[in-house]
């Protein structure tokens, strides 16, 4: 029994561009995430500082990381869809 994909997938000319974009976005998010961990380890008191409304940095940064992930995901999908529409269409025409 073979072990290829469960469904037959067409060639995706945009895959390399999408991969590059994914790596860039991954690095961006990793840096923001690493900064959060670094603050916790290096200057933990900074986490308690009130920064927005009456909320401290820990809460704002924590919520921010979650919302940032959602936003990056949406941007990534928008860009990837654009790449696919452009490059795979070129191939077809």
């Amino acid at each position: 029994m073979d072990h290829g994909p469960a469904v037959v997938l067409g060639e995706d000319k945009a895959s390399r561009r999408k991969q590059k974009l994914g790596v860039k976005m991954f690095i961006l998010y990793s840096l923001v995430y690493a900064a959060f961990v670094a603050i916790g380890v290096i200057d933990y008191k900074l986490m308690g500082k009130i920064v927005l409304g009456n909320l401290n940095l820990a809460v704002v940064y924590g919520f921010g990381l979650i919302i940032f992930a959602i936003l990056l995901g949406l941007i990534y999908n928008w860009r990837c869809t654009k790449f696919e529409n452009e490059m795979n269409k070129e191939e077809q025409s």
């Binding site: 994909p5 469960a6 991969q19 990793s30 995430y33 809460v59 919302i67 869809t81």
Partner: protein
């Protein structure tokens, strides 16, 4: 804690389970091929798959474990929410589409797609099994914790019920029914978490968190005096004895034939004795709760604020609050937590939970569980970094998450379903902070099980809400366990039997082997679920993430991004990741405590292995691949 089953809760639970089983029967009749059984035929709609991802991922660890941990140790529990969600970034940006392109049924398929290597087939299948079993333990522990208040049954019965139902679901229908169970449950979990959060905001904050259905216990405080012989005297009580333990003094007082424990607090205006919660294991086997048998129901739910400040003034209650005002008001006040201590009283073993006033600002910053501030050492900081690394890297290496990419028709669908998952899961994780903090101040906590915090909070707001939330939480466990068992059965039937052993099974035989494997893994999960009773499920999942991140992620990432990767490098990296992660976990302070030994005597102080085991696995892959001159690299095979 004594729990009474509610008829409505039981009815709702039975209806929910019947619905899930009905769904399994329906899809079971349609599932004939191995592609249908292991990958739902690759026909699931991306939006359904996205919510099903959320269903898979928002397991007992998220709803029961994180909320419980936030309720007991504040922001440190929320770190799990942040890390779990961040892990999806790795899945989306690096893994989702390539994995969809490479694999068929299992994670092993993807890793082995270029090499056709026996070593990869064996090690990746074993890794899938180990990670799945590690992830199964907390789900089963959560199931046991849940049925106790819901149905009034012992922990082990809950574990057996979940195990039996899930094995039935998986053995009848496989991935299609698992997907739809996850879809329904993921959606319901998010909707009802929003509803529970609205209840929390409407309820606001009170110094004495009484609810219509349950009154908060008034913990007695008495002022002791000294008589002429310098012996402590307490009006209305007989002082029976005292114990000094790690700098804290506990006194046993008798009244109306009942012995209760009190903790001595040295306050500005003199000493005060305050009632604690206690469990006494009497020599001979009896267990007393606050000095009385369990059925007398004298072991109370806890968690309240001792100071609430609104507009600069102390108040008794706030009235309804908005989400951010709710958090900031807790931050400005004081929260009373109940900390655990253990000591010997003659031949009896005593566990006590005493009050500790914690500034709200401390509840809202890291440090109560993970020592990174006051009292931190390099090793406690390393533990924190290691945990955050495991959570970040673990998601994209979980077999039951990875196999969901095979259920959609295309790479674009894999990507889009991941984004739906991130949005759904992210929204839920924001709510965990509200639900956890809500539980910590609403007098609902069961000190014996942090896992029950969110469902018990729902119970304080009404049996109806509790019943629905508990049924959903139960379905959460059913769904996640189903996904894990499908992943495990795929590893056994497809990777090990069919491919590694080269049995070349027919389609029917492979499905049959998968079903037998599901039953075996389910039985093992039941045994482990009973053995690990009482541990916080999110903490246990942290370990599963660490093992997954160490065993699987270096292999996946290097296969995708480093052309010099060889089959030998992948296989040895998986072995290095599993052995080092398991080795560190099994010799950790937490496991030492679990073995009944002193945690301080453990081989090392590291509770979270990822920082060492992930690095080791990555280096192993690089060095073995570079040293491997005989076999072709991934780049050469492209």
């Amino acid at each position: 804690m004594i729990y009474e089953a509610s008829a409505f809760a039981v009815l709702l639970f039975v209806l929910f389970v019947a619905f899930v089983l009905g769904l399994s029967f329906y899809f079971g009749r349609k599932t004939k091929s191995s592609s249908g059984y292991f990958a739902a035929g690759g026909t699931i709609n991306w939006a359904v798959n996205g919510v099903a991802f959320a269903g898979d991922y928002l397991s007992a660890a998220s709803f029961l474990g994180i909320c419980g941990m936030i309720a007991f140790v504040g922001y440190d529990g929320f770190l799990y929410s942040i890390g779990y969600l961040a892990g999806w970034v790795v899945a989306l940006f690096l893994v989702a589409e390539p994995l969809k392109r490479l694999g068929k049924y299992t994670f092993t398929d993807a890793l082995d797609s270029k090499f056709n290597s026996k070593a990869i087939q064996l090690t990746a299948a074993i890794s899938t099994l180990i990670v799945s079993i590690f992830y199964l333990i907390p789900q089963m522990v959560g199931a046991g914790a849940l049925v106790t208040p819901l149905l009034g049954l012992p922990h082990w019965v809950g574990v057996v019920i979940v195990g039996a139902i899930v094995v039935f679901i998986v053995a009848t229908a496989g991935m299609t029914s698992t997907t739809y169970v996850q879809f329904i449950k993921g959606g319901l979990l998010i909707i009802f978490s929003i509803i529970l959060s609205i209840y929390i905001f409407n309820n606001g904050l009170k110094l004495k968190p009484d609810h219509d259905t349950q009154k908060y216990h008034n913990f007695v405080s008495v002022v002791p005096t000294m008589d002429s012989t310098n012996t402590m005297v307490v009006e209305g009580y007989n002082v029976i004895g005292s114990v000094e333990n790690k700098g804290k003094q506990f006194f046993k007082l008798e009244k109306n034939g009942v012995n209760r424990w009190f903790k001595l607090y040295n306050k500005e205006n003199g000493n005060v004795l305050t009632e604690v919660l206690s469990i006494t294991d009497v020599k001979g086997g009896d267990r007393l709760y606050n000095g009385e048998p369990k059925q007398n129901a004298k072991f109370y739910q806890i968690g309240h604020m001792s100071k609430i400040i609104v507009n600069g003034e102390e108040v008794d209650k706030t009235g309804p609050l908005g989400p951010f005002k709710f958090i900031s008001t807790i931050g400005q006040g004081d929260v009373v937590r109940f900390l655990k201590d253990k000591f010997k009283d003659g031949e009896n073993s005593v566990q006590v939970w005493y009050q500790e006033v914690t500034a709200g600002s401390e509840m809202l910053t890291p440090g109560l569980k993970f020592k990174i501030g006051k009292g931190a050492t390099p090793i406690t900081k390393l533990n924190f970094v290691s945990l955050m690394l495991a959570l970040f890297l673990g998601t994209a290496s979980l077999p039951h998450v990875l196999i969901r990419y095979y259920t959609v028709p295309s790479q674009r669908d894999a990507r889009k379903s991941t984004i739906i998952a991130i949005a759904a899961i992210g929204s839920f994780y924001i709510l965990t902070l509200f639900m956890g903090l809500g539980a910590s101040v609403n007098g609902v906590l069961d000190v014996e099980s942090s896992n029950m915090s969110a469902p018990l909070l729902a119970k304080a707001f009404g049996v109806g809400l509790f019943s629905i939330i508990s049924a959903i939480a139960f379905a959460t466990i059913l769904g996640t366990v189903s996904g894990l068992i499908v992943a495990s059965s795929g590893a056994i039937a497809h990777d090990l039997v069919d491919r590694y052993l080269g049995k070349n099974l027919t389609d029917d035989a492979k499905v049959r082997a998968g079903k037998i494997a599901a039953i075996l893994v389910g039985a093992l999960a039941i045994v482990l679920g009973i053995a690990f009773k009482g541990m916080n499920v999110s903490f246990l999942v942290g370990w599963a993430f660490a093992v997954a991140a160490s065993a699987n992620l270096p292999a996946i990432l290097m296969l995708l991004f480093w052309k010099k990767t060889t089959a030998k490098g992948i296989a040895w990296s998986i072995v290095a990741g599993i052995v080092s992660a398991l080795g560190i976990i099994l010799t950790s302070p937490t496991m030492w405590d679990r073995y009944g030994l002193r945690a301080e005597d453990a081989f090392h102080s590291l509770d979270n292995p990822a920082i060492i085991s992930f690095t080791l696995a990555l280096l192993t892959l690089v060095f073995v691949s570079l040293a491997d001159k005989k076999n072709k690299t991934a780049g050469e095979l492209e």
